[in-house]
Amino acid sequence: MSDNAFTPLSADGLSITPQMSGDVLRVKMTGAVEMRDPGELLNPYWTGLDDAVRAKSLKRVEVDLRDVNFMNSSGILTLVRWITKAKTHAPDQAYKLVLQYDRNVTWQRTSIPTLAKLAPQIVEPAEVNG
């Protein structure tokens, strides 16, 4: 961790590690999102990240989902909530949200590009191999 504003999370088979890389926040997710109510865990976490990103005037956040082997629809909803909030930010607080995925993982290849359609002006699906 290079910045105390971005704290890691580890619970219920899921790990999230945010790390600054230059002026880009990289958020690495590992494991699975299949708990009964992932919103209890993730909604406040994404809100905290969103607040910290805007406080630091960052313009790019990269979420690496390639090592998430499954995400249930309630987990997807947490990302929908984050995107829905992010797209309302004023231009001076707006940032690009890049969702990195592996096309060889079926749920990622179908869910991530769909999520990006919610707010194509700020969300970029990025197919990353390796």
Binding site: N72, S73, L77
Partner: protein, 163 residues
């Protein structure tokens, strides 16, 4: 029923019954993926089927009215289809909600419906209610609901190409 029972009947059919415990769902999803990975030799279809099984089971566990929900999965190569069926008993108002939900998501363009449901779910508290439309859109399956008294059977039907 507390303990999980796995009963392979033939190479083309499997049925599982278990009590509505959340912790079993992940286990069943992984089993279904492995089973159909071998049976179909199609990783993408196997993962779509296991995703559908997981989403249907989550609904069943959330809305089951008693301890009788169970998962039934069958494969019927004669009709070139995989039928993922989850049955459980449910309260009448949950059944009515399910009927309305199915009618809604089957009435429009799946992608448009999915995006609209995402947007509306983001504005409300509570359950996502994205599971069924996710199965329809992301897994390209058909959905069918059978209700007998208070027993609900929801089917996700996957056509098999080249079967």
């Amino acid at each position: 029923m507390e303990a999980m029972q796995i009963t392979p009947v033939s190479s083309d059919y499997v049925e599982l019954r278990f009590g509505p415990r959340w912790t079993y769902i992940s286990c069943v999803r992984k089993f279904v993926a492995s089973f159909f990975m071998i049976g179909l030799a199609d990783k993408e279809r196997a993962e779509q089927i296991s995703m559908a099984a997981s989403e249907l089971l989550e609904n069943a566990v959330k809305y089951a009215s008693d301890e009788e929900s169970y998962l039934k999965i069958s494969i019927a190569k004669q009709s070139s289809v995989v039928d993922v069926c989850v049955k459980n008993r449910a309260e009448p108002h949950h059944i009515n909600t399910l009927r309305r939900e199915l009618a809604l998501i089957q009435a429009g363009n799946p992608e448009s419906v999915y995006l609209k449901k995402m947007e509306s779910a983001a504005m409300t508290e509570g359950q996502s209610r994205l599971g069924l439309i996710r199965i329809l859109y992301e897994a390209n399956a058909k959905l069918r609901l059978d209700v007998h008294d208070n027993e609900v059977a929801i089917h996700a039907l996957f056509p098999l190409e080249g079967a």
